[in-house]
Symmetry: C2
Subunit: 262 residues, 2 copies
């Protein structure tokens, strides 16, 4: 993984002019990256309420003013229409287009939501000396739909999606406390141990991402996952929705440490 240590402002400028179009892992090292969900104002209240009721999978770090593409609270001057490398356009819940600039799709009634992402707590886990197999091997983390129901809000309802990381058993307490300090990046695990208890049947067959080995000294540790809000929103078939493409996140001006509550 190539590491780009420039300030996010410079990296976003490269993305805006089309010089960077790939995934954002390794870019803006040390800065918070965020999931994007854009919905018309008509659906925005229910979506914001859904996030408020399900803060583990849906930690809101920014909501733009109606019609404004500027995330003024986390990256003043940025433009969410151009500053992500790749976007997905959904119509009636179905993928309609994949683009590198959503300016042609922007409307005066749109609201953009930025949701915290696992990159932040993974950085904290690595800093704390906890090995992460999927990062060491350049893979995507393994994810599953669970039997844990999110609390519904208006039109939005559905199961929680989780990611799993195998953690050596003696490091499990440290992994819990370190991630708990970042409630706006999914926070503490939602489950430790028996996968079946949350409806995960086969640890070697994830619903999304790549399978990873779980050694005899490892405990499977499950965190709420940012795939949840997108999956839930799309399942309700909103007439119009824009998201980032998987892995192509928005890089904020917030250092990871800014999300720590302790």
């Amino acid at each position: 993984m190539t590491i780009d240590t420039r300030h996010p402002r410079e990296i976003r400028a490269d993305i805006r002019r089309g010089a960077l179009t790939g995934v954002t892992a390794g870019l803006g090292e040390g800065y918070v990256q965020a999931n994007l969900a854009v919905l018309p104002k008509e659906q925005a209240y229910d979506f914001l309420l859904f996030c408020q009721r399900n803060p583990r999978p849906c930690p809101v770090i920014e909501v733009t003013d109606v019609g404004s593409p500027e995330p003024a609270g986390v990256a003043p001057g940025a433009d969410l229409r151009t500053d992500l490398p790749r976007y997905r356009i959904y119509k009636d819940g179905a993928l309609a287009d994949e683009v590198t600039d959503i300016t042609p799709y922007w409307r005066d009634d749109l609201v953009a939501f930025l949701l915290g992402c696992s990159f932040t707590f993974e950085w904290a886990l690595l800093e704390a000396g906890i090995p992460l197999w999927h990062i060491a091997h350049g893979k995507n983390v393994a994810m599953w739909r669970t039997s844990i129901a999110c609390r519904p809000a208006g039109r939005f309802h559905g199961p929680m999606v989780v990611s799993m990381r195998p953690i050596p058993s003696e490091l499990v307490p440290r992994a819990v406390t370190v991630s708990a300090r970042f409630p706006n990046a999914h926070g503490a695990p939602v489950h430790v141990g028996d996968p079946a208890a949350i409806g995960v049947r086969e640890l070697d067959r994830p619903d999304y991402g790549d399978a990873q080995p779980v050694g005899p000294r490892d405990v499977p540790v499950f965190w709420a996952c940012g795939v949840t809000p997108q999956a839930v929103a799309l399942a309700s078939r909103p007439p119009f929705m824009i998201t980032h493409s998987p892995g192509h996140m928005f890089i904020t001006d917030l250092p990871n440490s800014a999300l720590s509550v302790l």
Copy 2:
């Protein structure tokens, strides 16, 4: 202060039938108490967004479904129309009535917000051995409007209101870390030390509550205060709004520890 250790469900039943009409300090010991703000759906999105953008003064712990008086997430079966001891009714931002039952005022388009309250972190401070003068002396905490602007959302904008507790200097770090564990009850202090830096001119003349002595070994420590969202909402003169009367809070079924992130 009389301590009532029954389960909140029993205490709320007494409040509902009019047997308890006073302030809720000391009731439901160990359980989270909450500030109430009720607004029509038309203002609910802006208010929820205001809270999301200003989580220190406005920690949202529950939002009811439109028209429903049941806070299903924090007290299933409770009724917010009857289960608080006293309410204030505001019309066009002016106090219109003070009642013990808002059933006659309830409407199908109302949304109730419950916001975290300082009782929770004060309990944690006391447990950690930090003396709180206003509690020891049966007074209200001292509060001020500050020069810290809240981040606006739609029609809502205004200054942050803070409460101040004099903390012996050697206990300041402990007071910070203990309260930081409760982001949904105002979390860590927003300011430690020089009152003038946040626009507080006279420590012996609070804008709300009771003055308290600051000893030579004490540091003034300021926390964001739940008076903020009510003050901000009322300043925008909403056509209709209901709040709890000061000190007459809603007692949830959540133990204080449920709000701790670590």
